[in-house]
């Protein structure tokens, strides 16, 4: 049986890492994820884990070391935020291309400039094409649960992809909440022992990884990688279900609230989805048929499932905690709008960019989004595709 404990998001992640007991962690601390690295380094120093902890000189080196350690045959984890993730950018693609299931916790933080240490999703959204699976957590319990599941998902032999487990900087990373921490043995049994796939340290079966790969084979190798993502989506579903069977908290690609009969719905990720749940409850009390789609799995992107879940709505708003400069709207909106269109949906849809650099999103802010949707549902017209929430104009 697990135990209820009050922990911050960062401490819950460090606790999950202690329980997972990876072979290698090579990390370079950065706010707001520093505390995870610091706490885990204590576990290493105190002999509570068997991990080889590598202190590196940058995030680029951190992810290089992690990718190499995974290629050598180890279970590998890493932690970062914002500009640290940006510095890893080059290597992120290589980790995924090598099909190495490195597990990276990203405590979401705004990218510079200007320098800002608070939450938004510009960091992980910037890496959306790198080939990593991405799971987003609403609260402390979810960032603990998601990290454990990330290991099982990424390491499946039909997947073998790296996974980012994301939580909102400060809002979750530095917030104390009660969560159920499972027993060490139960967690270890659930994830199982690590099975390396073609490890470089297998000297009996030497092979080459990462050589030059030109026009004659490269596109086949990329197509081969492409084929892993449907399996990854299935793995997110199956491991979420299996987690529920063992620990009583089931997960899927998304969580929905009131979508069965909703006229208006908001799509949101991470902690803002938690705030939106309260707003939905309030609007439902007023007789408004409001709904919420909380996307948990952004990569692989469950476009068909999202389009199907939103099919019955009269108006939908996608909330993006990241801007795609020059695109005219946010990244989550692009993908959902494309999924709706290709899925034959004609639901009016708009986009709100919110919370950049940690700007607080209050229940009243989200309520204003729903009020806007009520107008669109009445008229069937979207006057402005993208608006910025609570910005001083």
């Amino acid at each position: 049986m697990g135990q209820l404990q009050p922990l911050e998001g960062n401490l819950a992640v460090a606790e999950a890492m202690r329980q997972i007991n990876p072979d290698v962690v090579a990390a370079y601390p950065i706010t707001p994820s520093t505390e995870i690295v610091q706490t885990f380094a204590n576990f290493v120093a105190d002999g509570e884990v068997d991990t080889n902890y590598v202190a590196v000189e940058s995030e680029h080196s951190a992810m290089s070391a992690c990718t190499a350690a995974a290629a050598a045959g180890g279970r590998v984890m890493n932690v970062t935020s914002a500009n640290g993730l940006a510095l890893m950018w080059e290597i992120l693609y290589i980790t995924a291309s090598f099909r190495q299931p490195v597990i990276l916790t990203v405590v979401n933080r705004a990218l510079s400039g200007n320098i800002n240490i608070h939450c938004d999703h510009s960091d992980t959204m910037g890496t959306r094409d790198a080939g990593w699976i991405q799971l987003y957590s609403e609260n402390v319990q979810e960032c603990y649960d998601n990290l454990i599941q990330a290991v099982a998902i990424g390491e499946r032999m039909d997947v073998r992809l790296p996974v980012m487990s994301c939580l909102d900087g400060f809002l979750v990373s530095h917030s104390y909440e009660m969560l159920e921490v499972e027993d060490d043995e139960a967690v270890r049994e659930w994830i199982g022992p690590y099975k390396p796939n073609e490890p470089l340290l297998d000297v009996e079966n030497p092979y080459t990884m990462g050589p030059i790969d030109l026009y004659d084979y490269y596109i086949e190798h990329k197509y081969s990688q492409w084929q892993a993502y449907p399996a990854a989506k299935q793995a997110v579903i199956e491991e979420g279900k299996r987690f529920g069977e063992t620990f009583g908290r089931e997960y899927g690609l998304m969580e929905t609230l009131g979508l069965d009969d909703a006229d208006i719905a908001v799509v949101a990720m991470s902690s803002a989805a938690g705030t939106a749940k309260d707003v939905v409850d309030k609007l439902r009390d007023e007789g408004v048929k409001a709904g919420l789609l909380k996307l948990r799995c952004f990569r692989p992107f469950p476009g068909e499932e999202i389009a199907a879940a939103l099919a019955g709505c009269k108006a939908v708003c996608v909330m993006d905690r990241a801007a795609s400069f020059g695109a005219g709207s946010g990244p989550l909106f692009h993908e959902i709008a494309a999924a709706m269109y290709t899925g034959g949906q004609t639901v009016p849809i708009n986009n709100v960019i919110y919370g950049l650099g940690g700007r607080t999103v209050k229940p009243a802010d989200i309520e204003s989004v729903y009020r806007g949707l009520m107008e669109i549902a009445d008229t069937g017209k979207v006057e402005q595709v993208c608006t910025w929430l609570s910005v001083r104009e």
């Binding site: 004659d216 490269y218 086949e220 190798h221 990688q225």
Partner: protein, 104 residues
């Protein structure tokens, strides 16, 4: 199988773009990369082996401490051998076609 054939399909190769057949770079034919090729005058050669030392693709074939041939399968036509030859015995000629030299 020493190498994946040129028509290997995506599902016929290992995941992650790895090459499970160790040391098979020798099998990879890069003759198509050449836009010029070296021509070597064996009479003029003093066997200093500079070309063998400097060739970045191990394409100067040596036997019994003597240059015996240039390897048309791996020479990329970079011209370094012609540049370093102290007797100007190697000249670069336009075109990628390079005759198979007989081992002497």
């Amino acid at each position: 199988m020493r190498v994946y054939p040129p028509d290997a399909k995506w599902h016929e190769m290992a995941d992650g773009g790895v090459i499970p057949q160790a040391g098979n770079a020798e099998e990879y034919d890069v003759s198509g990369w050449r836009s010029a090729h070296p021509v070597r005058d064996d009479e003029c050669c003093i066997q200093c082996l500079f070309c063998w030392i400097y060739c970045p693709d191990n394409s100067v074939l040596v036997k019994d401490q003597k240059v015996v041939a240039l390897d048309p399968k791996h020479c990329k036509g970079c011209g370094i051998c012609a540049q370093v030859c102290p007797k100007d015995c190697i000249t670069m000629q336009p075109g990628g076609d390079m005759p198979e030299e007989e081992d002497k």
